[in-house]
């Protein structure tokens, strides 16, 4: 069954507003990755989190890994139209070769 749940499914924001997507796993994750897929494109790796409670930043993007390593979030501050796309989390559980992808959050940014 589904190992990694992701919400919300869709998010429409006005340019300049913030955006957050959340991933939750029923099982402790070994690590979690985040990917961005532009419309019509393929997923592109953004970042990987490994440690409990880890927080990483990439410009306006902030990624967090929960203390229990069962949840993660991606927060975008002051969205821009270039942020449009679907954001996926992907976690590994014990087997580092096998990834469980969340269902993705599709972000639409209105100018």
């Amino acid at each position: 069954g589904q190992q990694v749940m992701q919400i919300p499914q869709y998010q429409h924001v006005q340019e300049g507003e913030d955006f957050t997507t959340y991933c939750n796993s029923s099982t402790t994750l070994s690590n979690i990755q985040w990917y961005k897929q532009r419309p019509g494109g393929h997923p592109v790796f953004l970042i990987q989190l490994v440690k409990s409670g880890e927080v990483k930043k990439q410009k306006r993007l902030t990624f967090q890994f929960g203390e229990a390593k069962k949840n993660s979030s991606l927060h975008i501050t002051a969205t821009q139209t270039t942020d449009v796309g679907t954001y996926f989390c992907a976690g590994t559980i014990y087997n580092f070769n096998k990834f469980y992808f969340g269902s993705g959050t599709k972000l639409n940014v209105k100018p």
């Binding site: 992701q6 690590n31 990755q33 990917y35 393929h42 997923p43 592109v44 790796f45 990987q48 996926f88 992907a90 590994t92 580092f96 070769n97 096998k98 990834f99 469980y100 992808f101 969340g102 269902s103 993705g104 599709k106």
Partner: protein
């Protein structure tokens, strides 16, 4: 530098016809290889992954199969396509040691009619 190729880019096939999608990776050795399927507007479903030649792990029982005849070649096949096989098929690779970031190919958009 490493590159990943997938072909064809788009494919329209009748129900019951066979399928063969090919993925090749350049610039790396002994990669992990993956096949994913993405239904329209949905997430990525892991179909198969491989850690070496001839080693295939199947994640979803269905009418698809995968093979890895060479280190950097991964093939997705079906003997008889179903309507439900329509989707966007993505191949990906990652290194086996160190960061397991996945690099995705451009994908094949399959429509079964």
């Amino acid at each position: 530098s490493q590159t990943i190729h997938q072909w064809p880019a788009t494919l329209v096939q009748p129900v019951g016809s066979p399928l063969s999608l090919e993925c090749t990776v350049e610039g790396t050795s002994n990669p992990n290889l993956y096949w994913y399927r993405q239904a329209a507007g949905r997430g990525l479903q892991l179909l198969f992954y491989s850690v070496g030649i001839g080693q295939i792990s199947s994640e979803v029982p269905q009418n698809l199969s995968a093979s890895r005849p060479q280190d950097r070649q991964f093939i997705l096949s079906s003997k008889k396509l179903l309507l439900s096989d329509s989707g966007f098929y993505l191949c990906a690779w990652s290194v086996q040691v160190g960061s397991n970031e996945q690099f995705f190919g451009p994908g094949t958009r399959l429509t079964v009619l």
